[in-house]
Amino acid sequence: MSESEAYRPPSDTPFFVCLGLLGGGYILIIVCLILANSTFTTPGHLLAALNAPEIRYAIRLSLVSCTITTILSLWVAVPIGYLMSRQQFRGKNFVDAMLDIPIVLPPLVIGLSLLILFQTSAGKAVEQLFEDFMDRTGLAKRMGITGITYDIPSVILAQFMVACAFAVRTMRVTFDQIPVRQEHVALTLGCSQSQSFWMVVFPQARRGLLTAATLAWARALGEFGPILVFSGATRFKTEVLPTTIFLEMSIGNIEAAVAVSLLMILIAIAVLILARTFGLESRIEGKAPR
């Protein structure tokens, strides 16, 4: 008898039906949302949106900025996640709560806070340093980036502030799930802390890393509030896909807004499928003897 045909007492049925109805209702709403979007627009609208130069720019900026944000987020999330998982120190609970602030703060507040930060003397000094660096290296002319605020770096910074918090949380859980005893064994075998991390712990964190990357990328793609406040909504400069939807809706071009929304849904689904495909074929399974 296969698992699906296994006997289940009839008295359990109402319980599972309730669970199915509750869960199924939510899934149905998600499917309906996607269907509503797809039926509202036509392939013509979608093609027209894809051919519009300002939308092409927004797609390019979204893809590039989200990728940079993801790399930066992982760069920070791995060490923080590992330290928070393994080390005990005074004020750990406080640091833990601080790391959740970007998740619980309203997005607009993050944007506003970033804007205010870059108006302080320290923020202005950082901006000045950045401008000087871009001028000296000639990158300002070549890339068309002159400063941070209301320029492309502000888009990445706004995305990073939120996406990184999700990546940190994911990496912390990932490291929590890797038994510390394996590191102990590695240490007795002669590994240093760093060798034990890179040779034993990090390879096992591959799935978590992929999940953190997916989450950070998807979160960055959907970021709107902080970008609107901190970067503005300037076409061909700081316009990312959510900004496009906002701008198109504000001028009454609903068809283009829906087409871009659908595009974002497709990108998000593609990222999820990619992450799951690569995530599932893990070496950890160890099914194929070499």
Binding site: P179, R181, Q182, H184, V185, A186, L187, T188, L189, G190, C191, S192, Q195, M199, V200, P203, Q204, R206, R283, I284, E285, G286, K287, P289, R290
Partner: protein, 224 residues
Amino acid sequence: MIRVTDLCIFQGEFALKDVSFEIPEGEYGVLMGKTGSGKTTILECICGLRPMQSGTVELSGSDVTRLKPGERGIGYVPQDGSLFVTMTVREQLSLAMTIRHWPMQRIDERVNELAEMLGIHGLLDRYPHGLSGGEIQRVALGRALSSGPSILCLDEPLSALDDETHSEICDLLDSVKQQTGVTILHITHRKREMRRLADKLLKIEDGIVEEEDLNDSAQDASPA
């Protein structure tokens, strides 16, 4: 030889004070005690994995109290084996030697020698996923012995094994001791295991470690 002198550990409400004992060179010491009595804590202190407030640890005549775990010449086998899930058995057995920059040929020879001794030749290119409890413990033992340590610390390595595998691994531990001459500290709950393997019996109770006569324990009829 393992000599622990006046070991003190305080951790929250848990405390071990002035713990002292010795296991002579090449002997098989078994440490028994109730759950939560501090057996694993003592073993981790000997391995250098846990800070201690005071006391000294001497291994094979050298004071290793301030040395890092990898410098103490100890092989460590935890309860669940704790195999590295992303490494093949061969990679696990090679790790300690790779870290010490042994030549490749010598590493291969040593891996084959260990595989022969532990009967794990057929497992060398497999990952830990899907190995049986007995196989996991054999690999963990091989990994601990790989760089030729003079001390072996075993933290309840047989607790999750069925009776048949348990007996097999007991025979294996006996043969490892005979072949390598390694000094062993083995933590266990099972009296049968202790009677089968121990040259020296240590019991921990209320934070005090005392040596017990093996003959007295052998007369104890309880089969636990």
